[in-house]
């Protein structure tokens, strides 16, 4: 007989093994879909791997794609730490993109423009995130639902801009005017798209880790999430912590949008984000809400996305496989997390 037994503590190596296990299970499960599509599983995954990590150019492409998901992953991880259920990273990203695009189109010295784009973009994301947090604190509105609904509102606002005042009068396409050339983020390696925003994302992860693990605000965020009653008893202003968390989370998601405008697209269009905000939830869960883990988790999803397109071209398997992989990975990770709460024990001798 086996039974589940509650665990009191988990060994540290679980943090590495569980996401790895979840990813392996995910890839095995999704190989079924590749087979259904009539392609060779080994071949398809092989193409994905070589197209995303096979050579130095592929690696830079994967890094470029990972940057927005590092930011949204950090945004979600910090929010979820406080049990502020911010599912609105997508809308916050779009707000950051629109705001930074507006700033970037103003002629001014390049470095000033980039700095202002980051500041204004982060502020825009923070303001959007403040809405569900305020509604929760003041009106007890469920933050999941309001942040989700807000994503649609922001998306339509973006569409109104690019089909209205921002519309390209020359081509008639619904795309915003480009930002100034001087505001384009510098490229680090000639001939690639690896821009400075990727480095900022990679630095943001340890900074967020420091904030959560080593600062007073981080402590308050953790206590508020784990035990709001104890937090209140301990003199923490839970409502204020939730609002601060929302500002921080929204600012990070906003920066994801800034990077896409300043470093990748240089303008705003309707499909500027292929769901990076939602991917942030997958990243955060794979990282076990640890900011440091957001980097490898985002790199994995980025590799899957970059690889899926090449795989689709080579084998005809729809590139939407990457969406299925994301959803499956999230669910697999949740199941894997059971091992942190329980262990399987043999009970009694089999007779």
């Amino acid at each position: 007989m086996f039974r589940l037994e509650a665990r009191t503590s988990t060994p540290a190596w679980f943090n590495l093994v569980l996401p790895f296990l979840a990813i392996v299970v995910t890839l095995i499960l999704c190989s079924g879909l590749i087979a259904v599509a009539g392609a060779g599983v080994i071949e398809a995954y092989g193409v994905m791997l070589s197209a995303s990590l096979g050579d130095s150019y592929a690696i830079t492409e994967t890094l470029v794609r990972a940057a927005p998901m590092i930011f949204t992953g950090l945004a979600v991880a910090i929010a979820f730490r406080a049990k502020f259920w911010n599912i609105g990273a997508e809308g916050q990203l779009l707000a950051g993109a629109v705001a930074s695009c507006a700033v970037g189109a103003i002629p001014m010295p390049g470095y000033l423009a980039m700095l202002l784009m980051a500041l204004v973009g982060a502020a825009a994301g923070a303001i959007v995130a403040l809405v569900p947090a305020t509604l929760r604190v003041k009106f007890k509105v469920d933050d999941v639902v309001s942040s989700l609904l807000l994503n649609s509102v922001i998306y339509y606002a973006l569409m109104a801009l690019i089909e209205g005042p921002w519309k390209d009068t020359f081509s008639g396409y619904p795309i915003s005017p480009p930002i100034e050339d001087s505001a384009n983020f510098p490229v680090l390696i000639e001939g690639t798209r690896l821009h400075i925003g990727v480095i900022v994302a990679l630095i943001a992860a340890p900074l967020c880790w420091f904030l959560i693990a080593r600062t007073t605000l981080g402590f308050q965020i953790r206590v508020t999430g784990e035990n709001p009653e104890a937090a209140r008893y301990g003199g923490i202003n839970v409502q204020r912590v939730l609002l601060s968390t929302a500002l921080l989370s929204g600012a990070l998601a906003g920066l994801a949008g800034v990077g896409e405008v300043g470093g990748v697209h240089f303008q705003v269009m309707s499909d500027i984000s292929p769901g990076y905000g939602y991917s942030g939830i997958v990243v955060a869960m794979l990282a076990r809400l640890n900011p440091l883990g957001a980097v490898p988790a985002a790199l994995f999803l980025a590799a899957v996305m970059t690889g899926a397109e090449a795989m689709s071209r080579a084998t005809g398997v729809p590139a939407f496989l990457s969406d299925v992989i994301q959803g499956t990975a999230l669910l697999a990770m949740l199941v894997a997390l059971l091992f942190t709460a329980y262990r399987i024990r043999r009970v009694g001798a089999p007779s």
């Binding site: 007890k140 649609s152 509102v153 939830i281 729809p318």
Partner: protein, 314 residues
């Protein structure tokens, strides 16, 4: 200005409200059953999308619309079972599992649709459901053509509301659902299987979400697009709160939302051309958020919502 209003409140306006409300009513009732049993189902958006795709595909390939509806309901129930497996049997976070189910179902819907139909310049469509006038009732002025000259699925939705209320408030099973959602410990002591009842409620909820998806691709649009659901699932979750977890009120909330949505569609079409149409598209969402702010302070959710049940934990 009066010409604008005349254009808005035509005879067809009422019919449009009913049509918009139908998928929302199915989805809202589905989410309500799930939540009354104590399980928030954020998978609703993805479940509706996958059901819409499955229904459309089955109808397109078989030529039978009702086979399509059946496929959509079965897929919805199956995805409900998946959500229940994670949240009820394994007791995992309902928030995150729901998002996981939505991401997974949406991804699967996109993947399978592209696999089956490829990338066609003209998206495939079907000959969808046609309105079926009900004799005598459809002759009532104004109300008749609007309410009683509709798709069969609309009538089904209208019947589903009292039926849901009856099941929830007047049957032993409905009592079990309410008990496991309010006080699972007491339900367990009374001999009600908390796990089984929650599974059943979430599966029933999924099946209703499947009907909502079926309506979108087989009656409303007669085609499947990636944006066919576009937030209707999230709206349904808000409507359950707005409807205070009651079938009648939830259906009323769906009708109210449909009114706002139909109104914005009319305003788009009418002479208010200088306002971008996206402003109108936003309107129902802003309305929903505002309504929640207005209602949530006094809303009392099922006590055991979001709380997994494990027998051994006391």
């Amino acid at each position: 200005m009066s010409a604008v209003f005349e254009q808005i409140f035509q005879v067809g306006f009422l019919a449009a409200i009913i049509r918009i409300a139908t998928p929302l009513a199915f989805a809202t009732l589905g989410e309500m059953f799930s939540e009354r049993a104590g399980v928030l189902n954020l998978g609703i958006e993805g479940i509706m999308l996958l059901s819409a795709m499955a229904g459309f595909t089955a109808a397109n390939l078989s030529g039978s619309l009702w086979l399509g509806v059946l496929a959509a309901v079965l897929v919805g129930a199956l995805m409900g079972a998946l959500h229940a497996l994670f949240t009820v049997a394994l007791g995992l976070s309902q928030h995150v599992c729901g998002i996981g189910v939505t991401l997974f179902s949406s991804g699967l819907a996109y993947f399978l649709y592209r696999l089956i139909f490829g990338q066609q310049s003209v998206p495939p469509s079907i000959d969808g459901f046609k309105p079926v006038p009900i004799p005598l009732l459809s002759d009532i002025p104004i109300l008749g053509p609007a309410v009683f000259n509709q798709f069969t699925l609309v009538y089904l939705a209208i019947l589903a509301i009292p039926l849901a209320a009856f099941v929830l408030y007047r049957t032993p099973w409905g009592l079990s659902v309410r008990m496991v959602g309010e006080n699972p410990r007491a339900a367990d002591s009374a001999g009600v299987s908390v796990i089984a009842t929650r599974f059943q409620a979430v599966i029933l909820g999924g099946a209703l979400m499947g009907l909502a998806g079926a309506f979108l691709t087989m009656a409303q649009f007669n085609a499947f697009t990636f944006g066919v659901v576009s937030g209707r699932g999230w709206v349904a979750i808000a409507l359950v709160v707005f409807g205070r977890w009651d079938p009648w009120r939830s259906a009323g909330a769906a009708l109210l939302f449909a009114f706002v949505d139909a109104l914005q569609l009319r305003m788009q079409a009418s002479g208010l051309g200088h306002i971008p149409y996206e402003a109108f598209l936003m309107l129902p969402f802003i309305f929903t958020i505002a309504a929640m702010a207005f209602m949530s302070r006094n809303a009392v959710a099922p006590s055991a919502l979001l709380k997994p049940f494990r027998r051994e934990e006391r």
